[in-house]
Symmetry: C3
Subunit: 263 residues, 3 copies
């Protein structure tokens, strides 16, 4: 029941299923989080309730939800631009965490690193069955996991699993993600967006004030992460980005990606 489909930005397709708006990441080939996509997604989430959307579905392409931060592109940026990227990424996470309307993630495929970060701040997560990888592999690519993201992971899967996943930089299977609660449901890929829309509709069928107040209470700990000053944390994240280790590992990763593309 798609009523309206339009392109609001080059990188995001907006599809309205009644009062539920789907924001489909559309930045081929990997839905990598470029500065433009980060800004566009934040704007789309902020703007949706103003357009009358009462819930959101965040989806990607079949087989690829989002590969996370666009490392090859970010490696071309100078210090000022990198600082802006990280401030904007934190602003996006805050926007997702404190959204006045529920957000369901329809994880249509791979969701490593930044792909997993996004879904931690949503209300619900359904993931397509298949040979997709999910997890916070930041450590594998030389990036210490930022504390706010670790806190959201811990809230999602508990202290023990959060320590195991984060320190090991683990990518895991869909089945394991469902079994430890990193996602709420695993289901056939062709049904994942539909189920996310239905999940939103089930919330919208409830008495709205009681639902909104209870949802607010349940997510207060997530919102609270952003109510302290995060300037120092973000400064440290940025400083880490420019460390020798991180730069070396990221450059080697970008080279591997470039070789893969050219073969």
């Amino acid at each position: 029941m798609v009523i309206e489909a339009k392109i609001t930005a080059p990188t995001i397709i907006t599809l309205d299923h009644g009062a539920v708006r789907e924001l489909r990441l559309n930045h081929p080939p990997a839905n990598a989080l470029s500065p433009q996509l980060i800004a566009a997604l934040r704007e789309a989430v902020v703007g949706a309730p103003r357009d009358g959307a009462r819930a959101l579905v965040l989806s990607g392409a079949p087989g690829m939800f989002s590969a996370g931060l666009d490392v090859p592109l970010l490696l071309t940026l100078n210090r000022a631009a990198i600082a802006e990227v990280w401030h904007d990424f934190y602003a996006l996470l805050r926007t997702l965490a404190s959204s006045s309307v529920p957000i369901a993630a329809a994880i249509t495929g791979h969701a490593p690193a930044g792909g997993t970060v996004l879904l931690l701040f949503c209300d619900w997560r359904g993931m397509a069955e298949g040979d997709w990888k999910i997890g916070l592999n930041e450590v594998q690519v030389g990036i210490p996991l930022p504390p706010v993201i670790f806190a959201a992971l811990k809230r999602q899967v508990g202290s023990r699993q959060a320590e195991r996943l984060a320190a090991g930089g683990l990518l895991i299977s869909v089945a394991e993600a469902a079994s430890i609660g990193l996602v709420d449901e695993a289901l056939p890929g062709e049904r994942v967006v539909k189920r996310a829309v239905e999940w939103c509709q089930s919330l919208l069928a409830l008495p709205p004030q009681a639902m909104a107040a209870t949802r607010r209470e349940a997510r207060a700990d997530l919102v609270r992460l952003f109510e302290q000053s995060l300037d120092r944390e973000i400064d440290e994240v940025i400083a880490n980005w420019w460390s020798d280790e991180t730069q070396t590992v990221l450059k080697s990763l970008a080279e591997r990606l470039a070789e893969k593309k050219s073969t």
Copy 2:
């Protein structure tokens, strides 16, 4: 091994199994929590250790543990009386949380809303297998879940499940309740009270001071919920009760219940 059976109040049957006292809710047809049952239950829990009971079992009728707050009755009460009900209900929860003796819930059947609230503040929960429903469906009936109850739910099942169950106002099956830890065991209905008594006896067989001190430490977070001032929270719960949305939904619920009774 029932040594003594007497009726201490019209609404609760007291059965002593040695040092373990069973408090059986006996307010047909649904063990709905009327102001009288709330007061009687609190009194029974407070009084039991004075009578020599060293542990408690809280049980209901086969197929019906408790349907939660007695909405049709509460809808007839004025503002002063509603305020008293909520203050008394919070006092009951505090009494359960800080009980000096262990309390096992023998969930003999349905336990929606207030039925589930009670068991969150007990030490252990066994539930009868069968087609019974359990969960905090407050949102479904227009009541924002009170923060103290959300905190107890989160302690029981973790942040992710608590958010999912509370915001969605979900009623779930016995199997799901056991699988996510909302109850500790699912077992045949005819054994649920017996098992709860045995669970109590297993605690009473331990060195009493070591058990009591460790139990106190383990439940300190639950007791701490009541050590802050809750006046403001209770005021808000009461204000919500009188909101248009809540009154409308509750009245429509009461009408459906009345129709069901008359057919």
Copy 3:
């Protein structure tokens, strides 16, 4: 690939598997935690990074990881000596929690009481399949579970399971321990040390600064337990030790152990 094997102390065998150092408890018959073993283990953990070890494996004997505190021996000690034991035991736990290098527990067999305490402060826990028992049965032997240990248990398995296990003083099976997350993996006994070494190697293969920073963030709550003053807590633990109940239960336990030995 054992490069070097030497005996650093009568009670601990040190085996270097490349950069991963195995500390094998070697205090027959039960690897009971005597004051000497506690001191030796702490020294070995502190000293390992200075010797170039980049990760540690803590193992025991086949069928017996550690039986916990050496109760028969401790019962012969005077007040000053008991106070020293508890201060040293807390110092050991702090050393494990704040170790600059990852520690994997290879739980080769039984791990009751103090045996379980040790592994709660490690980074990862693999346990040998078999008819071994694990759990914090302190309450069964008359010792209230110290708050720092309860907090570590809660971090490991969540509030509900921590309350159940601690207040009941439960010893559980390997399968149950794996299912509730008290251990991370159950595997054949002959593979448990090898797997612990491999787990360490998987962490050491990661970019070292990103791994170390993320590991620090993930374990900050565990380290924080020791950053408050624990003098009062330790004083209470020591006072409990000399209580009538504890002394009576421990003496009866020691007698049973002596009888078992003599038959």
